[in-house]
């Protein structure tokens, strides 16, 4: 048996151990958010989250296969870039927590990769936690990337078919939670204009001082959702694939975004020899 297999096995065991805990705590959160009865409950939940046992961690090979950055890995350069990005964002936000939207200028810019790893980069810092929301209802990039089953997610929550505890996922990364997009078979209306979305976001930010929320949105050139989401967030980052768009296309996308919220461009997937 190789070391890798050992690690994999260990990781699985860890996940199975942590999952129930995460779900419970997620459920507590969700309940308090939805009901929104009293702040005391919320604060209690916050301390709960902070105290939550978060030892369970996905193995290196698992993360590597999913394309998620690690502290030390073969993709140290990618990790470093995301750390640098994190530092940039923190500087711009003056070290407060925020909700940031990661959108792309064209389909295929892989904003899922950037948003996921941005979240991972925040969570690398032991004093910070992050939440990644997949708001891309049009594609399965996120699910494909993480190998998620089509389980309950943001849509289900917004439609009121699921509680927050059902959709808050732990994928084995410390201090990182994920809300997948959910069942995409019944997309009907613009969910993001509903109060539930706003309440969800406000609740998350207010409750945890060091929680950074990263929203993954579809390409701004293709989707109205992205434009709506821009209004809900504090900052916007636009992803441009290396040698994938013309300057003009990128300019068009930038025009659609509120200047005060746009922090800048992230050039993604720059080829390298090794």
């Amino acid at each position: 048996m190789s070391k890798i297999e050992d690690a994999l096995k260990k990781a699985k065991e860890n996940r199975s151990n942590i999952s129930p805990v995460a779900s419970t705590s997620g459920a507590v959160e969700a309940n308090s958010v939805v009901s929104g009865t009293s702040m005391s409950v919320v604060k209690k939940s916050a301390s709960l989250i902070k105290l939550m046992r978060d030892e369970a961690s996905a193995g290196e090979s698992e993360l590597t296969s999913k394309g998620i950055i690690l502290q030390d890995s073969t993709n140290a350069d990618v990790t470093d870039s995301f750390r640098f990005l994190r530092t940039q964002l923190l500087q711009k936000s003056k070290n407060g927590n925020f909700i940031i939207l990661v959108t792309s200028c064209v389909e295929g810019a892989d904003s899922a990769f950037v948003s996921m790893n941005m979240g991972a980069a925040f969570s690398l810092d032991e004093s910070k936690t992050s939440l990644v929301l997949d708001c891309d209802f049009q594609s399965d990039h996120f699910e494909e990337m993480l190998g998620l089953d089509y389980e309950a997610g943001l849509i289900d929550f917004l439609e009121g078919e699921a509680e927050i505890g059902d959709i808050l996922k732990d994928i084995g990364i410390k201090r990182l939670r994920l809300i997948p997009s959910g069942h995409k078979h019944h997309i009907e209306s613009e969910y993001f204009t509903t109060d539930r979305m706003k309440v969800l976001l406000d609740g998350i930010v207010e409750r945890y001082q060091d929680r950074f929320v990263v929203l993954n949105s579809p390409a701004i050139s293709d989707s109205v959702d992205a434009s709506i989401l821009v209004d809900l967030v504090d900052y916007v980052v636009i992803v441009a694939p290396y040698a994938g768009v013309s300057t003009k296309e990128l300019e068009e996308s930038i025009k659609k975004i509120d200047k005060s919220k746009l922090l800048g461009v992230v050039i993604n997937d720059i080829p390298k020899w090794l």
Partner: protein
């Protein structure tokens, strides 16, 4: 989009990564293709020879100043025409063993064309010619170049001898022609002089002096004639009636004087004597006689005049006719008249002589211009002839010089050598070229594609053109065993490249061993 050189290198490298498989494939294809060309590329050997050519024209210095000769400056072209002329080329074909391959006339013609194409003849300096010949066979290249140079020098030398001989002949011929001309003109002059005795150069002077003498004589004669005529007039006047009358009147006067004298005598006698005194009476009678004679004289004269007037003849008194003075006058008149006639005749004579001289003068002038032109011809021809004689001697010397080959005019300075090393593109060049082109062409294409690809690569462009900061540039993430696959891919590519290098090495060594 203009990239900085740093960006350019980085982007080209990234694109090379993207097209790595294609690039390696293209590298293999191109290098092997060039290698195949190199294997089949014929080895070319070049032999060369340097020839000294004296391009000085023989006739030119000989005829310096006398005739203008055509300049033949382009010795290389002349040499080319001579060497590539059928004369030498056919000999070269025979000697170089070319004809073994070419039997039909068409093949031979093609062979000649190919030789011409492979021959380079160029001028070096003022009087050096380099002959180069390229062939796949070093021995044949050597032989052909050697033969070309040798035949060219042979022909050049014999041409030179021929040239100086023909120069001599030419000058000799010219001298002969001029001599002939000279003789002709000489003969013409003689003939002319025979035909025109007056045309001697001193004749004009003589005739001129003669004319002036004749003119002087004529004038003198005419003057004399005039004088004589006046004299004649005066004698005639003296002899005319009036003169006779004068004579007659003087006789009358004599009578009157005698009458008067006798009357005076009578009166004197009467003073002393009476009327009857015999002397008085004789005197009285004498007076009466005298008076009667006087009257008769007057009457006779008047009648004579009247008669003379009627007849128009000179009245001549018989007394006058017998008068010695009159006789004298008459003879003088006759002499004068004779003189006048003589003078007139002389005038006519002189006049005719003058005419003759004038005529001669005219003829002399005509003859003179003719003579002048003849003399001029003669002089010109004589000058040229003498000049040619001098030059002929020079030509004779240079002819003997060239015949004895003393003046070095054509010589091979550098004889052709058997070429040992092939020239031009050799296999090694192709090997290197193949590898270099195999690398440069695909990368060059990537480079060119990058130039026309307007897609965004540079963060600088985002910042500068859109004014938006670039927060991060995220490299590619190797997912799972992607990196391992990548390394395997590289290994494969390296193996492919190495196999090409090995192929090159093997083919090169085979080539050098002569097995290919």
């Amino acid at each position: 989009m203009l990239y900085t050189s740093q960006e350019l290198v980085s982007f080209v490298l990234k694109d090379c990564y993207k097209y790595r498989n294609k690039i390696v494939f293209a590298f293999m294809l191109i290098s092997v293709a060039v290698l195949i060309v190199g294997v089949d590329w014929p080895k070319l050997y070049k032999a060369e020879s340097l020839i000294y050519v004296d391009n000085r024209n023989v006739i030119k210095p000989l005829m310096q100043g006398a005739a203008v000769t055509a300049e033949s400056k382009d010795i290389a072209r002349n040499a080319k025409q001579i060497i590539l002329g059928s004369n030498i080329l056919n000999k070269v074909l025979d000697a170089g063993g070319w004809l073994e391959d070419a039997t039909t006339p068409v093949e031979k013609e093609n062979m000649l064309d190919s030789i011409k194409k492979r021959t380079v003849i160029k001028k070096e300096g003022d009087s050096l010619i380099r002959v180069e010949f390229t062939d796949t066979d070093p021995r044949r290249a050597y032989l052909t170049t050697k033969n070309m140079a040798e035949y060219f020098v042979d022909i050049g030398k014999s041409n030179k001898v021929e040239e100086s001989r023909s120069a001599y002949d030419f000058i000799e011929k010219q001298a002969g022609e001029y001599l002939e001309k000279l003789t002709t003109v000489d003969k013409k002059i003689k003939e002319f002089l025979t035909d025109n005795p007056d045309a001697r150069p001193d004749m004009q002077e003589k005739v001129t002096s003669r004319i002036s003498a004749l003119q002087l004589k004529y004038e003198d004669t005419s003057l004399e004639l005039k004088e004589t005529e006046i004299k004649k007039g005066s004698i005639q006047r003296q002899l005319s009636g009036e003169a006779a009358m004068t004579i007659s009147q003087s006789r009358e006067g004599n009578y009157r004087k005698k009458v008067t004298d006798m009357e005076n005598q009578l009166e004197t006698l009467l003073l002393t004597y009476t009327e009857t005194y015999p002397d008085v009476v004789r005197l009285r009678r004498q007076i009466n006689d005298m008076t009667a004679s006087l009257e008769a004289e007057i009457k006779a004269r008047d009648e004579a005049i009247k008669k003379a007037k009627e007849t128009g003849e000179t009245y001549l008194d018989s007394s006058i006719a017998t008068n010695p003075i009159y006789q004298e006058l008459r003879s003088s008149l006759s002499r004068t008249e004779t003189k006048i006639a003589t003078l007139n005749t002389r005038m006519i004579e002189i006049k005719s002589l003058l005419d003759v001289e004038y005529d001669r003068m005219r003829r002399i002038e005509e003859g003179d211009s003719m003579m002048q032109s003849l003399t001029r011809d003669y002089e010109v021809n004589q000058n040229i002839y003498q000049d040619l004689l001098k030059r002929r001697e020079n030509a004779r010397i240079s002819r003997s010089l060239d015949t004895q080959q003393k003046g070095s005019t054509f010589s091979i300075l550098e004889p052709a050598k058997l070429p040992v090393r092939p020239f031009g593109l050799r296999f090694l060049h192709f090997a290197i070229l193949g590898l270099v082109l195999g690398m440069v062409i695909p990368v060059g294409i990537v480079f060119l594609l990058l130039q026309i690809d307007g897609r965004l690569r540079s963060s600088r462009a985002v910042i500068e053109e859109l004014g938006v900061p670039v927060l991060a540039e995220i490299p590619h993430y190797w997912k799972g065993d992607e990196k391992r696959k990548q390394i395997n891919n590289y290994r494969l590519l390296i193996v492919l490249i190495l196999s090409i290098l090995v192929l090159f090495a093997v083919v090169s060594s085979l080539k050098f061993m002569g097995k290919l």
